[in-house]
């Protein structure tokens, strides 16, 4: 069995990997070339790519995916505490926990589809969020969050004599640039898997399921296990992403499970383009970029930016722009989201496709005109 079924996909993946690894270079002019933010791009990229397998391909809109993200974070931190500060077992454990949790939630939620499914997943996520502050306190440590401590047993580390106080891959700290490259590698792997899935008969069945579920059952497909598998896979992606959050910053809190976090991944997917492979990642990058860069703009910095203008004009600009930045970055995001949904329902990917086809048409019609000129008159 060959790893790549088509040369086009191989090229696609190679370019993808190159662009991801070169992030520190091309993100620098945008002020986003620092490891913390790039790690977030990769992590939420994984989260959104996995969410897209359920929402974009299968057509089930989950409003509770943050629960799996949070569960993954807790799992990873527990792995750091009990086993080792090595991120590999932590991520495996996080993925597994995400998958098992999704399998359990799926048993109930997938009995319904459409809005009822969405409400059920939302209910489960909010329940997990509340439980993290009450019944599950021994696991989650409630308000203070789950943190590392020097008294943790770390059985494997003790056994092999490894030391350190923060997550590290055989001595390489997961906090700075190494952490980014580690996350980038996982992102590329996750992207590759979602691409394979998309090209497979299984992926085609998922898309058909989204298209017309009733017809699928009259075509002989048992639709339940297909939907359930898609749900579990996207739960595993979410768990993995949650684990990655804990790897780069070993702290897990229940706020990661809140419904706003679940809504955020829906926004990412729709903004970038639900059902496309690359769209969700683009959406994740844009939203995380806005969150970090736009929210950092405060009035003082705005006055500085417009200091070259006369004072009256400067005040005018600052007054107009300031509601959209800093605390108000959600306003910018909201407006952008509305514009995209109204004018480009297929997200940014659809915009890209439209531009590409417009260019192609112009070139084609240009060639057409040229050839017409040389045709003899009839």
């Amino acid at each position: 069995m060959t790893l790549f079924k088509s040369r086009k996909d191989l090229l696609y993946l190679a370019i993808f990997a190159l662009v991801i690894f070169a992030m520190p270079l091309w993100l620098k002019p945008f002020g986003a070339g620092y490891p913390d933010l790039m790690q977030r791009f990769a992590i939420f990229g994984v989260f959104a790519i996995g969410f897209n397998i359920l929402f974009g391909m299968t057509g089930y809109l989950s409003f509770g995916h943050a629960a799996f993200l949070g569960a993954g974070s807790y799992a990873a931190v527990w792995s750091f505490k009990l086993l080792s500060l090595n991120p590999v077992p932590a991520l495996l454990f996080a993925t597994l926990v995400g998958g098992v949790f999704a399998a359990l939630v799926g048993v109930v939620s997938l009995r319904r589809s459409g809005i009822y499914f969405s409400i059920l997943t939302l209910a489960f996520a909010q329940m997990s969020y509340s439980l993290a502050y009450s019944v599950l306190m021994p696991i989650t440590h409630g308000d203070s969050g789950l943190q590392l401590a020097s008294s943790d047993p770390r059985v494997l580390d003790r056994l092999f004599g490894a030391d350190g106080t923060l997550p590290n891959l055989f001595g390489f700290s997961m906090h700075g640039m190494y952490g980014f490259y580690f996350c980038a590698l996982i992102l590329i792997g996750c992207f590759y898997f979602s691409m394979r899935l998309d090209r497979s008969p299984f992926g085609m069945a998922l898309r058909a399921l989204k298209s017309n579920q009733t017809r699928m059952s009259y075509t002989g497909f048992n639709t339940k296990p297909y939907a359930r598998t898609a749900f579990i896979i996207s739960g595993m992606y979410a768990g993995l992403a949650g684990g990655m959050l804990a790897v780069t910053d070993p702290l897990a809190g229940a706020e990661r499970m809140q419904w706003t976090a679940s809504g955020e991944v829906v926004l990412m997917t729709i903004l970038g383009g639900a059902g496309t492979l690359l769209g969700p990642l683009i959406g994740a990058v844009i939203i995380k970029y806005f969150e970090n860069i736009f929210s950092a703009f405060h009035p003082g910095r705005l006055y500085e930016t417009f200091s070259f203008l006369p004072e009256g004009v400067q005040n005018f600009f600052v007054t107009i722009i300031s509601p959209f930045v800093g605390e108000g970055w959600h306003l910018t995001l909201g407006i952008m989201f509305m514009l995209i949904v109204i004018f480009l329902p297929g997200g940014i990917m659809e915009g890209g496709k439209r531009i590409a086809s417009a260019l192609r048409n112009r070139r084609a019609s240009g060639r057409h005109l040229q050839s017409r000129q040389f045709e003899p008159a009839e």
Binding site: L197, S211, G220, F221
Partner: protein
């Protein structure tokens, strides 16, 4: 005597106060084409819905090849070999023409569920060729990479037919396969149906177009107000005064 493929016995179905089917008995012999005709609202589509598990009958049972299929899931009934071609095109609008035909082919091969997420659709040459073969038979091969949303209504009907045929059913249920088709396409479809019949496939066909019915049917049942009022060979039905009155009267000159 040849085997009975389908045996519908004593089936009743009501919707609220409306009696859609009452005491239906129908037996379909292997290798025959059985037409069900009747005026609008006679219960023809309801009968098909009962056969594929879309509706549960209030009373009675449907037996397919000796197995009771009433109460089974639609996908199980399909896997047993009962395939329906829908009246209103029920296709997958987000997929291309050829993908629409490959889906039922995968269903037949992989059964009700298979985890094959590391295979590639492009590598399934056999299934692709089979899909192309059936698309050629219904005259849609030149449209194979189009998305089905852009097809005309008649083309969608032909796609439906290809989706049913690729499953190689043991019993094919056709719900007005030529509705919305041009005369030329209707004739092509009749030729196709005759060709399938030559292979020994058993078919139940609901049809309004008498030209189609008398071209392909071996036996005809006439349904009116939820009851079978006559059954017989095309000749018998043509000469039956009860049928003339209930259904054919207005149409025959």
């Amino acid at each position: 005597m040849s085997n009975m493929v389908l045996d519908v016995s004593d089936v009743d179905k009501s919707f609220g106060g409306l009696r859609a089917l009452s005491n239906i008995n129908l037996r379909i012999k292997e290798g025959t084409t059985h037409a069900i005709i009747g005026p609008n609202g006679a219960g023809k589509s309801t009968l098909l819905n009962v056969c594929i598990g879309q509706l549960a009958p209030d009373r009675g049972a449907v037996v397919f090849n000796g197995d009771v299929i009433t109460g089974r899931q639609p996908h199980e009934i399909n896997q047993m070999g009962v395939v329906r071609v829908f009246q209103t095109p029920a296709i997958f609008p987000d997929l291309t023409v050829i993908q629409n035909v490959m889906i039922p082919a995968f269903s037949r091969r992989d059964g009700a569920f298979k985890l094959n997420m590391l295979q590639s659709v492009d590598e399934q040459r056999e299934i692709r060729e089979e899909a192309e073969h059936w698309l050629e038979d219904v005259g849609l091969l030149s449209h194979k990479d189009q998305f089905v949303g852009s097809l005309s209504r008649g083309d969608k009907r032909r796609l439906e037919l290809a989706m049913g045929l690729i499953q190689d059913p043991r019993l094919l249920l056709l719900d007005e396969p030529t509705a919305g088709m041009s005369r030329h396409d209707t004739n092509t479809t009749i030729e196709l149906l005759k060709k399938i019949k030559m292979r020994g496939m058993t078919e139940v066909i609901i049809e309004h177009d008498m030209h189609v019915v008398f071209s392909v049917a071996d036996r005809i049942s006439v349904l009116a107000q939820g009851q079978i009022i006559a059954e017989g060979t095309p000749e018998e039905i043509r000469g039956n005064p009860k049928v003339q009155e209930a259904y054919l009267g207005g149409k025959q000159e």
